[in-house]
Symmetry: C2
Subunit: 246 residues, 2 copies
Amino acid sequence: MGTALSVRALSGIGEVRPGDDLAALLTEAAAGELGPGHVLVVAHKVVSKAEGAVVRLGDVEPSDRARALAAEHGKDARHMQVVLDQTEEIVRARRGVLICRTRHGFVCANAGVDVSNSGPGEVVCLPRDPDASARALRARLPHRPAVVIADSFGRAWRHGQCDVAIGVAGLAPLEDWRGRIDAAGRELHATWIAVADQAAAAADLARCKDSREPAVVIAGLARHVTEDDGPGAAALMRPRAEDLFR
Amino acid sequence: MGTALSVRALSGIGEVRPGDDLAALLTEAAAGELGPGHVLVVAHKVVSKAEGAVVRLGDVEPSDRARALAAEHGKDARHMQVVLDQTEEIVRARRGVLICRTRHGFVCANAGVDVSNSGPGEVVCLPRDPDASARALRARLPHRPAVVIADSFGRAWRHGQCDVAIGVAGLAPLEDWRGRIDAAGRELHATWIAVADQAAAAADLARCKDSREPAVVIAGLARHVTEDDGPGAAALMRPRAEDLFR
């Protein structure tokens, strides 16, 4: 058998609240399972909650634009206002689906603002700077594992969602084989692997959405783990100028 | 620790050629490692090659349209003809990038026609019916593991590629949590997980592109493995009518 990966969800992480020390909670849940060369994938929800990236809808005063969009798409106007606050550009708005480019540059539904797994009357936003969040967690975790902060994104042409990396520290987000030579001596023209996104996807398979398993340890990716924190998930974003689908 | 997954590439699979018995090659390489409840992820290249979905460019007579596209995008006109033969609709053609909807309904670069890891003067196409290929492999593998046939697809708004499932047998391709209740008693509105695509992505992390490791065994996904072959990767395709980005 060749290379091997093990992917394991951490259990015992309870509800995370604004101000909680997430690095301490993760360290405790990992109970010595974290080592150098490991990748810790963390669902963004707990990062957002610990950082207080949570909005009480009762505190939101929707703008006219939010009211108009909400009426058009059958949404809550206050929720829509939070989405707009996170949005740089609405890429598509059709049949109740809003695809937004966020302030960070992510293209995803509702600018990543989520009502599931949040408290009543609350919505959870993406972390303000997920790469910085990943770096901060990494610095405080035993053995400095690579850290990936993940969210579930839909895809333009495929049903269902896959987890992708929205914050990365210490993992090469992309592995570039372009220009290298394949087994038959031919150039691997297009091979440019989104390692961090695939790590996020692998981690998602190891946890259940309804159980509280927001963190997953992946062993076997040490070849992609770097001493420095690296370019982060920012490197995964296709710049607007290269976007063929706006 | 919670749920766990292990992901392991099979070694010892040599060059696959048209007419080779792929099920026999995979069975031999697995050497008893395959069990019920396992998922075997196979790179489409070896499936395509075994099925003879390989075109010698010397045998191709490019049409005027292929010549025009090739000139416009700096491609080989015969390669372009093979791409057109696999294409139902060109979704975007810009700056040398052709995004096509294939006969199968996949939206991907160059209709999945690939020059890397193919013989000199040859290109490899996607299998004619990847779900049927997956079912046929599954029927002949010991313990009938689930089978996923994978290819690397780019993404509209993110750099790099992730492996996705283009053929599936015996794995529920999607896990639908929509309408179910989360840990806080709220409806999980949007949670619809592309299990088969995430399995393909996880598998890709366990192999090297330049080594000949076209098959990966995943253990730990038995909850998604089904007795019947199920709807296949066809269930992952967003119908044209729902496509917001054509």
